[in-house]
């Protein structure tokens, strides 16, 4: 399930508007902690870094989402699936 979601996130990042990708990242982050989402975001940023004046926006936003999910999870009483 985790790897399927990561592949979906990668394809979404390339083919669909950005909010869809970040929604998947947030779900993965809540359920699986999802460090690998950083690698998916990095795959997008490496190619498009020149358009954003050298700021890896996808990776930075993914870090924020992962941290946000980590802070929210205890309040939602969710468990991380290992």
């Amino acid at each position: 399930m985790y790897y399927l979601l990561l592949i979906a996130a990668y394809l979404t990042a390339l083919l669909l508007p950005a909010p869809v990708f970040f929604a998947i990242v947030f779900v993965v982050a809540l359920r699986f902690r999802g460090y690998a989402c950083l690698l998916v975001a990095a795959l997008v940023d490496i190619e498009f870094l020149m358009v954003t004046n050298g700021v890896p926006l996808y990776t930075v936003l993914t870090i924020l989402l992962l941290v946000g999910a980590e802070l929210i999870r205890p309040r939602l009483r969710l468990e991380v699936a290992v």
Binding site: Y10, A13, A42, F48, Y58, I63, R73
Partner: protein, 307 residues
């Protein structure tokens, strides 16, 4: 799914995420040149598959059409083609005229290469296009990308072996000097994304919808027209929003100049504006409607009307 769950310290994990994230950011920025080949190949294969599937989806219904329906379509297309031929002759004449005017201005144009767009917004993040030609086809960074004959849409910012990344001038925050035909002013336009440029001019300047806008640094053609003007009398600035005739989401092919673009002086920019305006002045008036007199010196003496 495994049912093994465990509690961990939130603080530890937050620190770990930030640490790993910063490491990834550093790797992206410093190791980009080493990783770009593999990443570009992987991403391009996704874009190419996607655009192939889109094309397949459009072509497939043609195979299931009835013969009569196809014949009707052929005759419709033939009549459209006949109409287009006359329009093409007009365009050819304008092109010949444009070449002549450019030669008078000593302007040079570099040969261009046709490229298919394999990635575009909203599929691509950011206001960018991904085209299917790259360093192997002689594309260089800073080459200007055109739609049609002379509508410049952006600049190549990164070149990969078999693809290239084009930043559109409408990318958020990108500033470009533009000339607005109508009020005839030079001003600065800022990209706001989504294929839209924003022009900010002081109140009092006569900015109207459908005013044509040029980006002289990108070429001599007209970029687009003002689609909307937002003017609040109590504010010192009014805003014009510039769009192209064809939305960037509908672009399929572009041409790329083989020579990279260098910065131009104000005099060169003014010359390009003048050349484009001359082009705009000419309208193809049918001979039976045109009322024209050959220019020359009058042969009769002027007469005065009795008071």
């Amino acid at each position: 799914m495994k049912g093994n769950y465990r509690h961990s310290s939130t603080r530890t994990h937050v620190l770990r995420i930030v640490g790993v994230g910063l490491a990834v950011v550093v790797v992206i920025i410093l190791g980009r040149s080493f990783l770009i080949g593999g990443v570009s190949t992987a991403n391009d294969s996704v874009y190419r598959s996607s655009s192939w599937l889109m094309a397949f989806k459009e072509v497939m219904p043609q195979y299931f059409k009835e013969k009569v329906e196809l014949q009707q379509q052929i005759s419709e297309l033939e009549s459209q083609l006949a109409g287009r031929r006359s329009a093409e002759r007009t365009i050819d004449r304008f092109v010949a005229e444009n070449i002549r005017l450019r030669s008078l201005l000593n302007a040079s144009s570099s040969p261009r290469v046709l490229a298919n767009i394999i990635g575009r917004p909203p599929q691509l993040p950011y206001d960018a296009l991904l085209i299917d030609i790259g360093a192997e086809q002689g594309i260089q960074e800073n080459a200007v990308v055109y739609y049609g004959r002379d509508q410049a849409v952006g600049v190549v910012v990164a070149v990969y072996p078999q693809s290239a990344l084009v930043a559109l001038i409408t990318s958020p925050g990108v500033e470009s000097s533009v000339f607005v035909i109508g009020p005839d002013i030079y001003t600065t336009a800022v990209g706001i994304g989504g294929g839209v440029l924003q022009v900010n001019v002081p109140q009092g300047v006569s900015l109207n919808q459908n005013d044509l806008v040029m980006v002289p640094a990108l070429g001599e053609g007209v970029y687009g027209q003002i689609a909307e003007v937002v003017s609040v009398p109590t504010e010192p600035v009014q805003y014009g929003f510039v769009t192209t005739d064809i939305p960037i989401q509908q672009l399929r092919n572009v041409t790329v100049s083989q020579a990279p673009q260098s910065s131009i002086s104000f005099e060169e920019a003014a010359a390009r504006v003048e050349a484009a305006q001359l082009e705009l002045l000419r309208v193809d008036v049918p001979a039976d409607v045109l009322v024209d007199v050959a220019s020359g010196t009058p042969t009769t003496t002027p007469t005065s009307t009795p008071q």
